[in-house]
């Protein structure tokens, strides 16, 4: 036992090598290492390198609302197509309800609307349930599974679209991750002014072309009397009139194949777009049938412009001329190209740290770490002399291993993580203290030197293990429940616990073994 076993020496040497190789990139300038060596540096958290953290929430209430609005329109169309008269069609109790005028036709109506139901994904579950209520009405509810599936799909689509938008923006790639069921986290390292990013991400960019309904007298609009198949939308410039539009869009933004910023004949920035074949056909038909009438271009619930149709447009392309600047036109073109978000996004949380503040944090964290480590080393050497020095060497290797592991796994080091590191070092020393105290006990009890050293390690082990398991438990919980910086803290703590058990036991064992063979001591020096 006292003669260090070969495998222990080999293991310690391998760990040391691993530590040095993976720590080196942090100490040397970029590109100083040959290509085959690992070159990953510590991954600093946003609080240390500066950057922006944005937490978005997909507005599921709005999504539900929109689905119900569409469902009302679907029911209306289905019943009209079937020639069934009805009244009181609208949203009720979180679903849609409609009253069939002719009692004899309720069954037929139920039959007709039942065809609207679709299976959810590949499951046998349908997305809608139909209930025949008293007084000849039908109530339609969306199943919870269908809603969950639609939320999941909306979040997936949102992430995809945000990715496309950011790619098109061409800035440094931020990380986009999903959190929980309907949240999206965006972390942009080094970006201390996230406004431009937010402008690109947060806009829904839902584009529709809708016919203007001129038949409704303005007095009725003012009084709120609008036919059920129409809707009232404000204009984009916030001041001028509102528009009465047909609810059903002629063409939607999904049918765009391209959108580019251009200039009109007056040199004003505009957006040139082109429809796909379906869009082109629909737009062609609508413009052919409605010459002389107006249609409106609607973006996110506001009318950008409402030109009069002077002739059929069958080419499938056109221009949007609003009150654009060069920037806003090219940004809108970008958004239209990357597609509309399926639901509105809301910012729930925003944290921004300037690069300079991050550098300050790195500085104070480093100072705290240096002082902490220095204090531990001085104290442990004062306490145990030569054996303290061995513990200090184990501690140094421990730090090396932690930095190496964190660089290798690209785990995020945060400011609280540095605090976790300091505490880890203190607790790592505790393992050595336990071992040395056991040795002293055993020596005092009259055991021979070899036996005392040997049982020091053996007897201290259960305590060391128990103590570290408790730390691992709390770290695991932090990782599960904590937010960014706390997760970083937990990760640092966990890595530290594992490496410190290794170094505190094996490294000191090897060192003490060598010392024993070299110095041939007669009694325990502590």
């Amino acid at each position: 036992m006292i003669q260090p076993r070969l495998w222990k020496i080999a293991l310690v040497t391998a760990a040391l090598l691993f530590g040095v190789v993976f720590t080196l990139p942090n100490l040397l300038p970029e590109g100083a290492l040959p290509g085959f060596m690992p070159n990953q540096k510590l991954n600093l958290g946003l609080d240390l390198q500066g950057g922006s953290y944005l937490l978005y929430e997909v507005d599921t209430d709005a999504l539900k609302q929109e689905q119900m609005t569409n469902l009302v329109e679907d029911v209306r169309r289905t019943l009209q197509d079937a020639g069934i008269t009805f009244s009181g069609l609208g949203q009720a109790k979180g679903g849609v309800s409609v009253r069939i005028t002719d009692p004899a036709k309720v069954d037929a109506a139920l039959d007709a609307v039942s065809k609207l139901a679709q299976p959810v994904g590949n499951t046998p579950i349908k997305d809608l349930t139909f209930v025949r209520a008293p007084d000849q009405s039908i109530e339609i509810q969306q199943t919870p599974q269908a809603f969950q599936a639609s939320v999941a799909k909306a979040v997936d689509q949102t992430i995809e679209i945000i990715n496309r938008r950011i790619d098109a923006l061409g800035t440094r790639e931020p990380s986009i991750t999903r959190q929980g069921t309907n949240r999206i986290v965006i972390e942009a390292a080094g970006l201390s002014d996230p406004e431009k990013l937010k402008a690109v991400i947060g806009k829904t960019a839902k584009l529709t072309f809708q016919m203007v309904d001129d038949a409704v007298p303005p007095a009725d609009v003012a009084a709120g009397h609008v036919p059920p198949e129409d809707m009232v939308l404000p204009s984009d410039d916030h001041i001028s009139e509102t528009y009465v539009l047909q609810r059903r869009p002629v063409v939607t933004g999904e049918m765009l194949v391209s959108a580019q910023q251009g200039f009109d004949e007056n040199g004003q920035p505009d957006i040139n777009f082109r429809f796909n074949s379906q869009g082109a056909r629909r737009f062609g038909d609508a413009t052919t049938q409605n010459i002389g009438k107006k249609f409106a271009i609607v973006l996110d619930g506001r009318v950008i412009e409402a030109p009069r149709i002077n002739g059929a447009i069958t080419t499938g392309s056109g221009q949007i001329t609003g009150n654009f600047t060069d920037d806003s036109a090219s940004q809108l073109a970008l958004l239209l190209r990357s597609g509309a978000l399926p639901a509105q996004l809301k910012v729930d949380e925003q944290r921004t740290v300037g690069a300079e503040l991050g550098a300050d944090a790195v500085r104070s964290g480093t100072i705290a770490l240096a002082i902490g480590a220095g204090a531990i080393v001085v104290f442990i050497v004062l306490a145990y002399g030569l054996f303290g020095l061995f513990a200090a060497a184990a501690l140094a290797i421990n730090v090396l291993l932690i930095v190496a592991f964190m660089s290798m796994t690209q785990a995020t080091l945060t400011l609280p993580g540095i605090a976790g590191l300091i505490l880890t070092l203190a607790v790592a020393v505790d393992a050595n203290v336990l071992i040395y105290e056991r040795m002293r006990d055993e020596a005092r009890a009259g055991r021979s030197l070899i036996l005392a050293i040997d049982s020091g390690y053996r007897l201290a082990w259960p305590s060391i293990m128990d103590a570290n398991v408790t730390t691992l438990i709390s770290a695991a919980i932090m990782f599960q429940f904590g937010s960014g910086p706390v997760k970083g803290f937990a990760w640092t703590l966990s890595i530290g616990v594992l490496t410190s058990v290794f170094t505190a036991i094996l490294v000191t064992q090897v060192l003490i073994g060598w010392w024993f063979n070299f110095a041939k001591p007669k009694k325990l020096p502590i």
């Binding site: 104070s364 531990i376 104290f379 605090a419 203190a426 607790v427 408790t470 709390s474 770290a475 429940f481």
Partner: protein
Amino acid sequence: MRWPLTRFLPEHSHINFVRLSPFAAVLSVLAVVASIAALATVGLKLGIDFKGGTVIEAVTPGPAPLGQYRAALSSMGVRDPQVQGFGSPSDALLKFQPVGADPSAAVNAVNGVKAGLQARFPGVAFPSTEVVGPKVSGELFRSGFLALAIAILLMLAYIGFRFGLQQGLGAILAIFHDVLLTIGLLSALQIEFSMTSIAALLTVIGYSMNEKVITFDRLRENLHKYRRTPLADVINLSENERLSRTIITGATALLALGGMLFLSGPSLFPLAFTMVFGILIGTYSSIYVALPVLLVWGVKRGEDEATSTSATARP
């Protein structure tokens, strides 16, 4: 090798720890009552992680005009504006609650406030901005305390499994004592309580458990060794035996974190403070909460216990 400190620590100390425990019990009860009182009256000073709202760090070229900041924020119509100095004299933290409940509006309102401040105080810079919506903060609060509860339960299970029911109860009582005293002190001193504080509390729990494990471990060994000795004497013996370890480890941890407490600046202060206090209280509660519980409750010392523990602990 003349200097090792261990030479100056007495090899055999004979401190009667148990004799002091009635006084310690009174002290602990008083401290717990005071903590509850502090929590009930002043309450924790919640940071924006848990309360929601906005914090802007503002740096001016000259000394921070704290009073004028306050006036400016009030005139901009934000709710509950607070201004405090922070770090260096030119730094200030501006905290306020947005008007209305829509978090997106709150985020956008921040840009308005910053622009307003820039117009009033030329040269002001904002190194950091944090906006937390009410929904997120509510969730963080719930998940933070849920984490604490789960941590305590898991620790109880682990100690119960490794040692025994009495020890588990002693440990759990000690941990409640530690957590309550720590958050009581944080609320009495009005130190900000944020998600980082939850991390600190979890670390405190971890460290405190660590102490209990070491304590119970030594006690179990001695109970096994000295079967006929009264429990109080065995406790005293165990505590004296591990006294030098307690002193050396505790002092090391305190020294290491002490540096952070004084040198790392205001952002880490609450974390460092909580951990330093936690180390002190965790050491105290091992000796004067966890062990006295065993004295009151008794501990199984039967033959079964002895053989089963020796089987698990000394393979």
